[in-house]
Symmetry: C2
Subunit: 105 residues, 2 copies
């Protein structure tokens, strides 16, 4: 059933060097805003940090299709984020997930 046209949903779990956390969050926010505004195939990027341990970041990501995801990781704004944060991210775990219900106002 991997037709390439089904939605891609993922939960990214990151740990950031605490000393660089402020710079990381600025770069992540810029990347999320650019992705949502410039890419029709990026449907959702919800990033949060754990209270009391803000170096632990979770991002719920939804892409319209596998092709949209593959296009996303080649965009200038994503490549800028990936390059500039490479020395800030001490751990990255990408968890593929299936949606059960994604409801919001």
């Amino acid at each position: 059933m991997k037709t390439g046209s089904e939605k891609i949903v993922r939960l990214a779990e990151l740990e950031i060097d605490p000393v660089q956390l402020e710079d990381y969050i600025a770069l992540l926010t810029e990347e999320i805003e650019a992705s949502l505004s410039k890419e029709p195939g990026v449907l959702m990027l919800h990033a949060v940090s754990v209270k009391g341990a803000p170096q632990n970041i979770r991002i719920l990501e939804v892409y319209a299709s596998q092709q949209d995801y593959e296009a996303h990781i080649l965009t200038p704004h994503f490549l800028k984020y990936k390059t500039l944060t490479a020395g800030m991210v001490t751990s990255l775990n990408l968890v593929d997930v299936d949606p059960i219900a994604l409801l919001a106002k």
Copy 2:
């Protein structure tokens, strides 16, 4: 700064008895749909299951305020969910988080 009027954002991490997973997902879906449609203060409930280990559920929850959250857990639809799933949930970890960016189309 706990004024009670700031948004409550949380990531719930649950593990479900695999034998009861289908029933659990039906009850969770019903509860999410009722909460979003009936409660102005429930802003987002995004539930996903881990691919390959679908008994592992993650729910990103956003409530408009602490008061809205406290009202939510006393609603008939939440109490129904909580009661009927009590014997299905083998592990529950509620992680308080701060939003960094919550953007969606």
